[in-house]
């Protein structure tokens, strides 16, 4: 799968780290993340609230501002987005790479008509004239299932329901047919039918345009139904990675095992991540060794002293756990 590294196609993230200077000290929100997304590939990103999923997407987009600071490499088409001049990055954002924000209620500007907020994307990246932009906007509104599109384009976000705003945001992100879509919980505010419709749309775009997708979701059913590979984040780090089938069948990290907990293995039913006992650690004061050890039933002395590296386990599989064998074996017994 990882053709990205060889050809310079797709997205290659190396050592991505995001630090926030907070009153309580430096918060390590994203630590040393490596991620590859090939053209036409869909990668799921899961983890508890606060594990750094949104900050990862924002860092890839170059949206982190002071008091945050991002280091590492984000290679896209052979160019490093982190080191790139602002104007060059601007041309890529919104056209080649687009992002769907997590919060549909706050991501739209309250004082501008939705149509304008869609069309300004086209103004920034295409040479379409006003009539062509309107036509494209109407087409996008229909695609994401917003009825009465003509009238809706002239309305303001406060006249839209949460679900409609989310669809509008998806339409805006897709406006310039991006090659990479960073989707931060794109379907949370939508009912099942619309959710399926949107996911089908993303799959269709992936097939037709070889669009790559990084999909953040709490819905394991969505991951199972759409993604090729998945990555699990804990306290800012990727702790497990692999094909969706492999990870679901046999988690190699106790945290993943906990998240998958209650998923019925047969069929892709809508199932949310199960909650794990204990609370996530404070990012300004991470536990020594493995950040998961205070909550881990597999933990031993070494876990409290050393941080487990994210090791390759073959077959495109990685896990950051000293005892991944025991975890795998325990799973087999279940």
């Amino acid at each position: 799968m990882s053709v990205a590294i060889d050809t310079g196609l797709g997205l290659t993230v190396r050592g991505l780290t995001a630090l926030f200077n907070t009153p309580r000290g430096m918060a390590l929100a994203v630590a040393d993340v490596d991620l590859d997304v090939a053209p036409g590939e869909m990668v799921g990103l899961v983890g508890e609230s606060g594990s750094g999923k949104s900050v990862t997407l924002r860092s890839i987009m170059g949206l982190i501002q002071t008091p945050g600071h991002v280091t590492g490499k984000v290679e896209w088409g052979g160019r490093d987005l982190v080191a790139m001049p602002a104007e060059e990055l601007r041309r890529i954002r919104g056209s080649e790479i687009a992002m769907i924000f997590q919060e549909p209620m706050t991501a739209l500007n309250p004082v501008l008509p939705v149509g304008l907020q869609l069309e300004e994307n086209l103004v920034a990246h295409t040479r379409l004239n006003a009539r062509e932009r309107r036509a494209r906007a109407l087409q996008l509104m229909n695609t994401v299932g917003i009825p009465a599109a003509e009238r809706r384009l002239n309305e303001y976000p406060h006249q839209f329901s949460g679900g409609m705003r989310q669809r509008a945001m998806i339409a805006i992100a897709l406006a310039c047919s991006p090659k990479l879509l960073l989707a931060d919980e794109p379907t949370t505010a939508l009912d099942v039918t619309i959710q399926d419709q949107i996911l089908k749309l993303l799959l269709d775009l992936r097939d037709r345009l070889a669009m790559s997708v990084v999909l953040v979701t709490h819905d394991l059913g969505v991951i199972a139904g759409t993604c090729d590979r998945m990555a699990v984040m804990y306290a800012g780090r990727i702790v497990e990675m692999g094909t969706v089938i492999d990870v679901f069948r046999q988690p190699r990290h106790p945290y993943t095992r906990g998240l998958l907990g209650s998923v019925p293995r047969a069929g892709a039913v809508r199932t949310m991540l199960s909650s794990i006992e204990g609370t996530p650690p404070s990012l300004t004061d991470l536990p020594a060794g493995c950040a998961f050890h205070p909550r881990c039933s597999f933990a031993t002395d070494i876990c409290r002293q050393e941080r487990p590296p994210l090791l390759s386990l073959g077959n495109d599989r990685k896990a950051a756990c000293f005892h991944h064998d025991r975890v795998a074996a325990a799973e087999a017994i279940l």
């Binding site: 919104g94 500007n109 309250p110 300004e120 009238r151």
Partner: protein, 320 residues
Amino acid sequence: MQNIGSGSLPLFSFVLRRILQMIPTVVFILVVTFVLVRLLPGDPASAMLGDRAIDADVERINASLGLDKPIPVQFLYFVKNVFTGDLGTSIALKLPVTTIIMQRLPVTLMLTLMAALLALVLAVPLAFLAALRREQTADAVIRGTFQVGLSMPVFYVGILMLTVFGATLKWFPVGGYGDTFADRLYHLFLPALTLAFSFSAVLMRNLRSSIIGVINAEYVDFARAKGLRPRIIMTRHVLRNALISTVTLFGLQIGTLFGGAVITETVFAVPGAGRLMIDSIYGRDYPVLQGLTIALAVLVSLTFLATDIFQAWLDPRVAR
């Protein structure tokens, strides 16, 4: 900017509603002016006659001005006259008050307008600079300077400007009012700058903090994620939202600005409504005073109307 489309319908009915709301305001203005002028100490006849006043003369003059009638009758006359544009005759100048006001008020209007524009031209870029470099040197310098500006009285700033740019550098005239339009702009520049100085400090402070509030909003990040040009992000997304609260402040401060105009006109010897007001207070020129108060009060409420409409245009949620 794009057309507002169906959004213009609520805006239209909002404007209509807002205009109707002005009716009670106008009535209130009339009552208050009428009462206030009659509460002033001393009567105009004594003022006109000065030390030589004898009772018979005083009564004759009061009668000729209608000041001997019962108060309610005076009020009815007053309302009728106001609506027919007859604000009486100036005691001091022996000219119709309407004529005098039409001569003087445009001068003040131009001065205030210039001051408001200058204040905006000063405040908007500096507020942006301070907000974007917040807690850094530029921010500290800008805020410090304006803090000084805020704490200096208008007449003091005026005299300072006069001394430096008028008398010493001779860049601008030290007073008066020109004949041609360009000449007038030139004459009004220093007074307008004086007036703008503290006004822009108020605006700047408010705008700076609302820009800081808006600039971290999710929709601004989303706008950046869309790859919009920085200029569009700053104007369409940041400034427009930040201006909403500043426009309210702008409207509320307009009265203060007119008050400042009175002082400024005195310092710079500008023949505007402010000077006229001071002269008519000293001369107890009731009719002029009354006329001026009404004109200014109506102007201020028209400014409120304008800022409300502007705000409704900025923020479609207002006009619902």
